[in-house]
Symmetry: C2
């Protein structure tokens, strides 16, 4: 069982407009709503791969009820007093515009209740994945608490987080951290991937997996760098590709596969996610073809 934590889930709303006119009233032509948050995307892809998964997440208010009602994966919810956030993406001519709400103010007592719920799911789990941002105002050290709770339960941790939360996960000894290259350089204030990875390792991280988008994916250990190229010639919607890659890596970890096979699965799933317009969905037929062309059975 993989337990996936989404610290700051969302209602992801997409507004299609003819043209986005700042300062004017923009008539929305159509509206798409779906549950959002990186961890939920990861959980969705894992479920699609046939891997046993439980999404554990805090939700609050009517927006939270809506998210819970829409989830297609097994889940357990810790109730919040505040309202689960919404993100609005405006799609028209040109590049999409995104408005990100900060997320609900969450009290220490609410995080403690969330931690107790997580503890129950960690008992007997194979892996904890924490993916996505914390609500604004939440202490990055929550990552440390969750990593330590997993380790107390004998469960490994894969953390796909950024900024101070990434540093906190590393310090607490997360077995795998998976920033993208920009997040790695930001969090470590370095300009070099290997230097950044070494810094996270010195803090206490196990393997540092760095996703480089079109440049592929790399895993840094103390002694080596294992690299897998991106699947060439794939274009589409990159949103959620990193989450699909995280799911591939997580599935390989619980299957006991060698690191390079985990990276190949991550790269193939990332590319197969680009082919689907919706984050959290993957073209599984393409995934199998991409893996085969790599000389690997899916």
């Amino acid at each position: 069982m993989i337990v996936v934590v989404t610290p700051n889930p969302a209602v992801d709303v997409t507004y299609r407009v003819a043209r986005h006119e700042p300062g004017e009233t923009n008539r929305v032509l159509d509206v798409q709503r779906r549950p959002g948050g990186k961890g939920l995307n990861v959980a969705h892809v894992l479920a699609g791969l046939g891997v046993a998964v439980t999404a554990v997440l805090p939700l609050g208010g009517e927006a939270g009820r809506w998210v819970a009602g829409q989830l297609q994966v097994p889940h357990d919810v810790s109730a919040l007093h505040g309202e689960t956030r919404t993100t609005v993406t405006v799609v028209g001519e040109g590049h999409p515009t995104v408005f990100t709400e900060p997320g609900p103010e969450t009290s220490e007592a609410e995080w403690a209740r969330f931690g107790a719920l997580l503890d129950r799911h960690l008992a007997g789990a194979d892996l904890l994945v924490v993916s996505g941002s914390l609500p604004r105002g939440a202490a990055p050290e929550l990552l440390g608490e969750w990593v330590r709770a997993a380790h107390r339960a004998g469960v490994r941790v894969l953390a796909d987080v950024s900024g101070p939360a990434l540093l906190a996960a590393a310090k607490a000894g997360a077995d795998v951290v998976k920033p993208n290259l920009g997040e790695l350089l930001d969090a470590t204030s370095t300009v070099d991937e290997r230097a950044g990875a070494e810094q996270l390792a010195r803090l206490g991280a196990g393997i540092v997996v760095v996703s480089r988008g079109a440049e592929g994916i790399a895993a840094h250990t103390a002694s080596e760098v294992v690299e897998v190229p991106a699947v060439p010639g794939v274009s589409g919607n990159p949103t959620g590709a990193g989450d699909a890659a995280t799911a591939g890596l997580a599935a390989a970890l619980v299957a006991g596969l060698p690191l390079v096979q985990g990276l190949r699965r991550a790269a193939a799933l990332g590319a197969a996610a680009v082919l689907r317009p919706v984050a959290g969905e993957v073209d599984f037929g393409a995934y199998r073809r991409f893996l085969d062309s790599n000389g690997e059975p899916a």
Copy 2:
């Protein structure tokens, strides 16, 4: 009892951003959510005036449940399968940007159920107010049905609607229609206020009240035009001022006051609404002062 219909209520969301950057990710600094829709503003002001009021409205989904939970006025809801719309206003530097969702697709059966609910409230009512847009795709002729239903119950109708719905309300013989000047000219394809009002009267409308913003408010009957100037020197947030004016007019109608007194109340309430930052709220102290300065007791 005044029955107020809001055909297309909303969750009105305001996002404050440092700067609205199209094509970028915009971090929302704070979020305000409130029930929206012109009819709800009217009902709120009527309740503030101490007038007996019931808001009758269709609501659907989690957004609809949220609106119902927030309403501060007596109300009765007809449940929709679709999701009540959201409007997003982005406030930063410069003029606010508004994104308006179309509103839920509403079936004929759902409108029939809404009509039956309205019929129950019309029995024994003094006035029906219909205020605000229809959901996109709804037949403007719904206005005609509601006007006729009210008249069958012996109830007068004040309609603050625009476009084809305004024409439908006039054709069905609405006792008072209250477009603003732009809406009047749009709906009647005229460039002259009196000509537009005469066109609505020929269709069947009773009194045509035209709100002119800073230029005051006028009532057109077959034989005369009664005009009241706007309260001078008032500045603030004009959103909702027209709805407060509608409430003033409605309250005067049920109190049996002469038309000119209704217009004075409308002008004073509109100005008193401009002083409050939130649509649907009125500075009632200022309202009384504005009426007094007009030589009228409130």
